[in-house]
C-alpha cells in the first residue's frame, strides 16, 4: 500500500515538474522571440529608445492579434 502511495506521489511530483517546465518553456519561446528582435535591432545600431519601441510594438502586435479572434458562432 505505502509503495503504491509513494509511487503515486512521485508521479505527481514529476508531473508538476513537467508542468512547470512547459510553463517556463512557453515563456521561453516568447522571450526568445523578443530577445532575438532586440539583438537584431542592437546589431543594426538602433538606439535603446528604438529597441524599447520595437519590443513594445512586437508585444502590441501579439495583443492586437487577440482582437481578430471571432466569437463562437
Amino acid at each position: 500500500m505505502s509503495a503504491v502511495l509513494t509511487e503515486t506521489l512521485a508521479e505527481k511530483a514529476l508531473l508538476m515538474v513537467l508542468d512547470a517546465g512547459l510553463d517556463a518553456f512557453a515563456r521561453g519561446v516568447s522571450r526568445e522571440a523578443i530577445l532575438d528582435t532586440a539583438a537584431q535591432m542592437q546589431a543594426a545600431g538602433k538606439s535603446h529608445d528604438e529597441i524599447n519601441a520595437g519590443i513594445r510594438a512586437l508585444v502590441g502586435e501579439k495583443v492586437d492579434a487577440l482582437d481578430k479572434v471571432q466569437p463562437p458562432a
Binding site: 512521485a10 512547470a20 521561453g28 522571450r31 530577445l35 542592437q42 495583443v63
Partner: protein
C-alpha cells in the same frame, strides 16, 4: 511509465532551464535605479507577450470559454497600457535629469524614479498573476 515521466520531466525542465535567460539590453548610461525600472518594464512586456500567445492557444484549443477569453484579453490590454504609463513616467524622469534647468524657470523637485518603479512593479505583479492563471489552463490541453 515512471521512467517515461522522469525522462520527459528532465527534458522539459531542461528546456525551461536552458531557455535564454538574457535580458533585453538596457541603456547603460541610465542611473542604476532607472536601469532597474526599465528592466522591470521589459520583463513585464515579455510576460504580456507570452500570456497573449498562450491565451490564443487556449482559446483555439477550447480550454477557455469566449467570456474568459474576453476578460483575459481585456486584462492584457490594461497591463499594456499600464506599462506604457510606467515607460512614460520613466522617460519623463530621465529627461528631467538629463536636461539642464532653464535660467529663471522654477525648478521641479528632483525625480528619484519612485513613481515609475511603483507603476512598473505593480504591473509586473499583476501580469505575473495573469500569466500563471493562463498557463494553468494551458495544462488542460494535455
Amino acid at each position: 511509465m515512471r521512467k517515461i515521466l522522469v525522462a520527459a520531466a528532465l527534458l522539459v525542465a531542461g528546456c525551461g532551464t536552458f531557455t535564454p535567460v538574457g535580458s533585453i539590453p538596457v541603456d547603460p548610461t541610465l542611473p542604476p535605479a532607472a536601469q532597474a525600472v526599465q528592466t522591470t518594464i521589459n520583463e513585464s512586456f515579455v510576460l504580456v507577450g507570452a500570456s497573449a500567445d498562450v491565451l490564443l492557444e487556449n482559446y483555439n484549443a477550447g480550454v477557455v470559454t469566449w467570456d474568459e477569453f474576453v476578460v483575459q484579453r481585456g486584462d492584457l490590454r490594461t497591463y499594456l497600457r499600464d506599462l506604457d504609463k510606467a515607460q512614460g513616467l520613466l522617460d519623463a524622469c530621465v529627461k528631467q535629469l538629463r536636461e539642464p534647468a532653464k535660467a529663471g524657470a522654477p525648478r521641479a523637485p528632483p525625480c528619484d524614479f519612485t513613481d515609475p518603479a511603483r507603476q512598473a512593479d505593480l504591473t509586473k505583479r499583476l501580469a505575473t498573476g495573469l500569466h500563471r492563471k493562463i498557463a494553468e489552463r494551458r495544462r488542460e490541453l494535455k
